[in-house]
Amino acid sequence: MINLSHIEKIYHGPSGPIHALKDISLHINKGEIFGIIGLSGAGKSTLVRCINLLERPTKGKVIIDGKDITAFSDTELRNARKEIGMIFQHFNLLSSATVFDNVAFPLQLSHKSKDDITRRVNELLKMVGLENKADQYPSQLSGGQKQRVGIARALASNPKILLCDEATSALDPQTTKSILQLIREINKQLHLTVVVITHEMQVIKEICDKVAVIDKGIIAEEGDVLNVFINPQQSITKEFISVLLSNDLPVDFRNINISPEPVPEGILLMRLTFIGETANDPIISNLVKKFNVSADLFFGSLDDIKGAPFGRLIIGMEGTQEDIAAAMDYLQEQKVKVEVIGYVSRHVSTHQ
């Protein structure tokens, strides 16, 4: 659906050229919600603006539905843009126009008839839950309502793609959730391809199928959201994830000696990550039944990533080296990710 091929963007600033995007290639499939996450200044906003050529890449091609839009004439590009809706962090609504007229704006640009416009706008306002706000002005709306107007406007000309540029960054967590839910609904209902730009891993976790992590103008890491969450490769990715899923040990273990070698009377601390179905299986109790080990639970959390259960535990295992090794093999067979933290003395752990 969207193919970015070797995109480069160089700005000419007062202190010399700034290389905002360096050889970025991305493939986004039809119907997918694709997240691009990065810190401010990483180039994510520039990248999303390259998709509808609000920013023209210095080098590279933007191919949408098989057509290279970088080669389009102005008129062709304007028509292509009608197939790509966009919503913004600061909504960018016309302050002088009512909600109705804001949503009608793209339809007026295409010279649709008055009846068509009225019908379509009412349909869209209903879809975003603002049918009773048609005659109000943006200044009378809350942030979440403004973004709903933005979404209705972006969908007015039946686009195939929706670009979301930090669409929830100016909203409170509650409103963010409802807007994300709306985006997910329209993605399903309209089979829309959605590109989401954000600096919040929460947003990626809630709605995205795939994620690309952008750092200093390059794609540092890319893949299925679940895989990236479980097996982050780059430190920047780990940092983003750690905001959501803390990798800190429980308080009691923070100031004690954790040894990589077995200690007398020691237990082995490990972090277990369960995904999907395994998160619901009684793996720990099976473990204790099947193997000659004991397992103390020190920390546990259950989360979900786009609807898939995602559990994390820290357990302390006690047993002979052989039994522990066999138990760990069993866990891995059950598709549980096992990370060994180290040995602590049993004495310490029981004096919590």
Binding site: N52, L54, R78, N79, A80, R81, K82, I84, G85, M86, F88, H90, N92, L93, L94, S95, S96, A97, F105, P106, Q108, L109, S110, Y137, P138, S139, R153, S157, L163
Partner: protein
Amino acid sequence: MSADMFPLISKALGETVYMVTVSMLISSVLGIPLGVLLHTTSKGQILECIPLNRIIGGIVNAIRSIPFIILMVAIIPLTRLIVGSAIGTTAAMVPLVLASIPFISRQVETSLREIPYGIVEAAQSMGATPLQIIRKVFLPEAMPNIVAQLTTVIISLIGESAMAGAIGGGGLGDLAIRYGYQRFRPDIMIATVIVLIVMVQAVQFIGNLLAKKLDKR
């Protein structure tokens, strides 16, 4: 107070209103598009064209730096060419229009510059042409500001129209000078000043009201 005062003032008021209204209309028709051009051809804007922007900007600055009283006499040949005479109310409108166009265009430019670029970007993302952006984004969004700015222009036109009296343009200024000053008629002087004050107040009041009504921010 004397009997001749009322007809004198009402005639002069009529001339002033005529000069200001017609000059304002003509200079708006020319000055607003010029202001739009000044803004839209500047760096990073939808019709970016730096050389054109510099040329228009330069001309606008040049005219604006000439004091009105000098502009008035300096362009007498031009006035004569356009209206066939350099004296009279209609003739006075040529310098008034010429002085107001650059004033209006700078004011409009300032109003447009205050519109967040994001709104323009949103319109572009929906496939709007530059002309559509000007008509449906820039002008309606800036309208409250433009109205407020044009109010200022009208008020300064009232002041300049009084100066135009010096080249036989008629109007309240002319009346105040010829009767109030040269014929020692303080009653006419005072009456003229009062009429001018009321006029300016009324214009400002209506301008504020209109700008406020248009402002939905």
